[in-house]
């Protein structure tokens, strides 16, 4: 698919916003990585290097369309319009976090934005997407859902159950496979006999595509087409986005299992740099605007850290709240 041209439906401002969003995610994750020692949780998974997928894909759906996310979910959260401050506060485990300090990094969610949650169980998002898509279909809403998952999750049994059922019922789901070549330390090539995961789509009776996940416009255009197909009742599509995780599996992973050469090679394919170059070439921005955007982004991140530090810790006396909608009672009659 040619992605040389910018999509015509976007205004210059909207095109620049895509850049801003990717940069926001990048800066957010860099800050989290820098502060990892302070945050203390060893289970925080940065999205650095993969930003074009979340931002490109979410740009192709409407506000009231849904997404499910993964353990590596901050990027999805921000791309779907989730609030920066409450994301940061959640990772700090504070009361003003999106999940009031109950969920943390692996469970960030903003249901008001139809971001249905990061998930700590690899491969658990796609089965949930089935029901959301079915609800949309039964109520004739025309809403679609993007379900993000990794190359590791691609080998999870429930993902396969989900792809089969989605195709059988022609559900409006886009299976967004983020192939960053590794599941934690395991190269997917060691545990998967095929090179392109998109091949699997055919076996379930849906269309499968493998694309450059570091090209935001290619991601956008591919998802857009799949979304239009799904909205028309055509059913699901599998989109494999090839990409790379720049950092360790988590903010605390020493990442000794991947070569420096490999990492450097992928850094040269930076999705944000590539898009920036294009914006400059298209004369949509110049160096000065870029610099302003970078500065403003860092201010936003600083503010979110300040907000999070100021936010109180959750009241320990609320630890038992909200297990059920109403506290369960031991009736007696």
């Amino acid at each position: 698919m040619s992605s040389d041209e910018f999509p015509k439906e976007f205004s210059p401002e909207e095109l620049i916003n895509l850049y801003k969003k990717m940069l926001l995610i990048r800066s957010f994750e860099e800050r989290i990585t820098k502060d990892a020692g302070k945050i203390k949780s060893p289970l925080v998974h940065p999205y650095i290097g993969e930003e074009a997928i979340a931002v490109g894909a979410c740009a192709a759906i409407n506000e009231d369309d849904y997404i499910t996310s993964t353990h590596r979910g901050h990027g999805h959260f921000l791309a779907k319009g989730g609030d920066l401050n409450s994301l940061m506060a959640e990772i700090y485990g504070k009361k003003d976090g999106m999940c009031k300090g109950r969920g943390g990094s692996m469970h960030v969610a903003d249901f008001s934005k139809h971001m249905l949650g990061a998930n700590g169980i690899v491969g658990a998002g796609p089965p949930l997407a089935l029901g959301v898509a079915l609800a949309s279909k039964l109520r004739n809403e025309g809403r679609v859902i993007l379900t993000f998952f990794g190359d590791g999750a691609a080998n999870q049994g429930m993902l396969h159950e989900s792809m089969n059922l989605a195709a059988a019922w022609k559900l409006p789901i886009i299976f967004m496979l983020e192939n960053n070549l590794y599941g934690w330390s395991t190269p997917s090539a060691n545990v998967t006999a095929i090179k392109d995961f998109s091949l699997r789509a055919q076996g379930y009776g849906m269309k499968g595509l493998s694309i450059n996940g570091n090209d935001i416009i290619e991601v956008y255009k591919t998802v857009k087409e799949a979304v239009e197909f799904a909205r028309k009742g055509g059913g699901p599509t599998l989109i494999e986005c090839k990409t790379y995780r720049w950092g360790g599996q988590t903010t605390m992973d020493a990442d000794k299992y991947r070569s420096t050469e490999e990492k450097e090679e992928w850094k040269r394919k930076c999705p944000i740099e590539a898009y920036k170059t294009r914006l400059i070439r298209g004369e949509l921005v110049d160096q000065q605007i870029i610099q302003e955007i970078e500065e403003k982004t860092l201010i936003l991140i600083d503010e979110s850290v300040k907000f999070s530090k100021k936010s109180p810790k959750p009241d320990p006396n609320t630890a038992l709240d909200n297990v059920y909608k109403n506290p369960i009672e031991y009736g007696g009659n």
Partner: protein, 333 residues
């Protein structure tokens, strides 16, 4: 707690028919209710509980699925998050092992870990227990596993009227409910109220017989065995109070403790194997909260810790029955 007398117009029907009536009434009442599972359509399910629902409500709302239990429950949880009220059928409780993920890590946790942003109004129905020569993989009683999962409600009625009233409550409940249907209770008949507004609140035990001598707490098929035992023992002037908790979470501790305050003696009869069973939980809270009432040691009469054998002569040997209940009551006298 009084022995319940049903009011209003009633009809004699089997447990299976009472369940179907509850589903039918709730599907008529609320558009967002639908049912999904394996072979539940024209065939009506292995115990014919859903027979006729497809003809009445159509294939959109009576959805036959592939044999993909994680997809079934994932779909149900996702639909519940999106505002539907799904009823998912798992063909045999034994198959819950392949979809624990969606129950334990998703349905039960979503409200709490996402900071109370959402509810999961889901009902999972599943037949369990011995009595059909089902052998080791089609006869198990797993209910105690789910009592160990905060966020779930666990319902296990034994009488047709209770099936109807409690299933309607389950469907209307905003939290995930797992509804265990004892296979033998499917076939037994009883009076069932025809009132469409007949519901039974969770957390209220039911007393079947009055007595001052021994409290028998029993669930599922063990309730009828206990009633039969109590009727026999009456001839010997031994008076037992047979109590069915009906919901295991929430558990009506108060009614059980009140009865023990009167009798001072407790026999718990449970079809599940003994270690970490429902009987273990009941014995534990009685020891903790009602020790002062006990005049004798508590007796737990369970199926022993053994896979369920196929041959009837073996199965009958291990599952508690009216005779073994009588013998154990006498140990307390």
């Amino acid at each position: 707690m009084e022995v319940i007398k049903l009011s209003g117009e009633t009809k004699t029907m089997s447990g299976a028919d009472a369940i179907r009536l509850a589903i039918e009434e709730e599907m008529e009442r609320d558009e967002s209710v639908f049912i999904l599972g394996e072979d539940i359509g024209a065939y009506g399910g292995p115990f014919f509980v859903t027979k006729g629902l497809l003809e009445k409500f159509g294939a959109d709302r009576v959805r036959e699925t592939p044999i993909s239990e994680n997809a079934i429950l994932g779909c149900a949880v996702g639909a519940a998050i999106a505002g539907m009220r799904p009823i998912a059928e798992i063909m045999f409780a034994d198959f819950l092992t392949v979809c624990m993920e969606m129950i334990v890590n998703q349905a039960a946790k979503a409200r709490y870990m996402y900071g109370a942003q959402i509810s999961v109004p889901l009902t999972i129905r599943t037949p369990f227990g011995t009595g059909i020569m089902g052998a080791a993989q089609h006869s198990q009683s797993f209910e105690s596993w789910f009592m160990h999962v905060p966020g779930l409600k666990v319902v296990l009625p034994s009488e047709p009227a209770d099936f109807k009233g409690l299933l309607k409550t389950a469907i209307r409940d905003d939290d995930p409910v797992i509804f265990f249907e004892n296979k033998q209770c499917y076939f037994r008949s009883g009076e069932v109220p025809l009132d469409k507004n007949f519901t039974i609140p969770f957390g209220q035990a039911r007393k079947f017989t009055e007595g001052d001598d021994v409290t028998i707490v029993a669930t599922g098929a063990m309730v009828q065995e206990s009633i039969n035992a109590a009727n026999k023992l009456k001839e010997e002037n031994i008076h037992c109070e047979v109590i069915d908790p009906r919901t295991l979470v929430p558990m009506d501790k108060k009614s059980i403790l009140n009865s023990i305050e009167k009798t001072g003696k407790l026999l718990i009869v449970d079809e599940g194997c003994k270690t970490c069973s429902v009987s273990a939980e009941i014995a534990a809270f009685v020891a903790e909260e009602g020790f002062q009432y006990l005049k004798k040691n508590i007796i737990r009469l369970n199926t022993p810790d053994v896979p369920i054998p196929y041959s009837q002569s073996l199965e009958k040997q291990i599952v508690p029955n009216a005779k073994s209940i009588q013998d154990n009551v006498k140990k307390l006298i």
